[in-house]
């Protein structure tokens, strides 16, 4: 493996240590070294906003800790849910007396650990509300949206939920806004090459040369089809088709667009995709309010990209625009 690691079993510890050093002006570690906390948190009288998830998706999840975004993040092993204790400690670190909302993805481990952490927090007298992201179109059909995974749309959910909390909204209002933000998101991933957990040492799945996996998940979960790798413009049009056909937005709707690399795809290729994505979205009569292109939510060194489109309304637009100060988004 051509990788910068010290010890395959210490990858997460080493990552978090270096992360906190790099961003010491924005974040700190809780007593639990698997919980990253915004230096501004907890804010008295503000609803706390947290998430948590497996590592290997950097800058997600920890990179979105900061002012007007996430107050605390529970950190799991690579591709593995944080413990209930870490979620619980993140809740405690974020609690400013008005309850805490936990905005997370739809994975079996996260669902269980958040459920247990919520019970533990109830014993501390902290009210916890949850929103489960399910923006990944290809992970289940339209009739089973509750089974879909949360992917890069989570960033918009955190952004809008975090901003709403900073405006002084109640726990229920923050929950409802974060829920609307994720309900308005659709995402799709295209995989061109697999990734390897260092402790395992070999890729857990394969993508044959000159092919692409359409609808791949953030841990290499299989997509809906494998097909020959096409020109970028055609791939971008396919991505838009999957996302927008599921979305069914009225002409004139304003949208936010997020094109994220999966870890090993160069930034220039994301811009190549984005050019056609923008054309395609506009061709459907939609208006692009804002575009984000970069490595916002990765999967170790997977080759590939994801597209997320969020439909906006006046409130979501205002929340998206609120300034933030976090390692991954400023």
């Amino acid at each position: 493996m051509q990788r910068f690691i010290n010890d395959p079993d210490q990858v997460v510890e080493d990552t978090v240590k270096g992360f906190v050093r790099a961003h010491a002006d924005i974040v700190r570690l809780a007593d639990n070294p698997r919980v990253v906390v915004a230096k501004t948190a907890p804010v008295a009288g503000k609803v706390g906003v947290i998430t948590g998830g497996g590592s290997g998706h950097e800058p997600a999840f920890i990179g979105y800790t900061g002012k007007n975004l996430l107050d605390a993040v529970a950190v799991g092993e690579l591709f593995s849910s944080p413990t209930a204790k870490s979620f619980h400690d993140a809740i405690k670190a974020a609690d400013g007396g008005r309850g805490v909302v936990c905005l997370y993805g739809n994975y079996a481990g996260d669902n269980m650990n958040v459920k247990m952490a919520t019970k533990l927090a109830a014993k501390d007298g902290i009210a916890v509300a949850t929103v489960v992201a399910n923006d990944d179109v290809c992970s289940a059909g339209p009739s089973e949206r509750d089974k879909r995974r949360g992917v890069a749309g989570e960033i918009f959910m955190w952004k809008c939920g975090g901003a709403k909390a900073s405006e002084g909204a109640s726990l229920e209002q923050v929950r409802a806004t974060a829920q609307r933000a994720i309900d308005n998101c659709r995402s799709v991933g295209i995989g061109l090459g697999p990734c390897t957990l260092p402790a395992v040492g070999h890729p857990n799945f394969s993508i044959e040369p000159d092919t692409m996996e359409v609808g791949i998940g953030h841990h290499g979960e299989p997509g809906v089809r494998v097909e020959p790798l096409k020109r970028a413009a055609e791939v971008a049009r396919d991505m838009c088709g999957i996302v927008l056909d599921d979305h069914d937005l009225a002409a004139g709707t304003e949208v936010a667009v997020l094109v994220s690399g999966l870890g090993a795809t160069p930034l220039n290729e994301l811009y190549i995709l984005n050019h056609t994505i923008a054309e395609e979205i506009e061709a459907r009569g939609l208006t692009i309010h804002r575009t984000y292109v970069g490595n916002y939510f990765t999967s170790l060194e997977m080759v590939g990209a994801t597209l997320t489109v969020m439909a906006l309304d006046d409130e979501l637009k205002r929340l998206l625009e609120l300034e933030v100060h976090s390692p991954a988004m400023r």
């Binding site: 690579l78 593995s80 849910s81 413990t83 204790k85 650990n113 247990m116 395992v200 857990n204 998940g217």
Partner: protein, 214 residues
Amino acid sequence: MSQFLNSTAGDIVLAMADKIVENRSYLSEIDGKIGDGDHGVNMAKGFGMAAQRIKGRSLSLSEAMETLGNVLMTEIGGSMGPLYGIMFSQFAEVLDGVENIDPATFSAMLHSGLDGIQSIGSAKVGDKTLVDALSPAIDAFDAAIADGESFAQALEPLVAAAEAGRDSTRDLVSKIGRSSRLGERSRGVLDAGATSCAIILEALARGAQGRLQN
């Protein structure tokens, strides 16, 4: 009716941890076929860590199980941390304060563990999870006791049913957890959780058999 002492049985958990650590690569290998290949790594880490804390302390079975449950729940994460964590915590709770573990207590312990698992996960028999090994093993033990078999004898069908349940997962399509995303592609491979569960139950059964007194 035969039974065994709670107070001197903590070493059963050590023997169990040895078996899990021994199977680290095997469990990861099966997991790698339809999961992300870290089941053995995480299980060995949790059970190994718990063994370090139990070793040399002459703990009772309930204390050793409580330690193991805590480690899994607070330090392992993923799906297996909370599931096995709650199972061992529930086991420990039933045994807490019990001097002699008889078949009725043993059965109550197993049922409570399964209830705990089903309170946080939603898996049923047939979903290709650890429940496919655990649930039939409990039923087999209860049935043998109801048929008048001894504690020692009843542990044999428990082990056999756990193994048969584990093997049954090979032909199942995963309904829950990460491998469920594979649909039909998950068929033909053992479930890693059911495999580790069969290992745990066998270690528990053999440990009990070696300590039974009349």
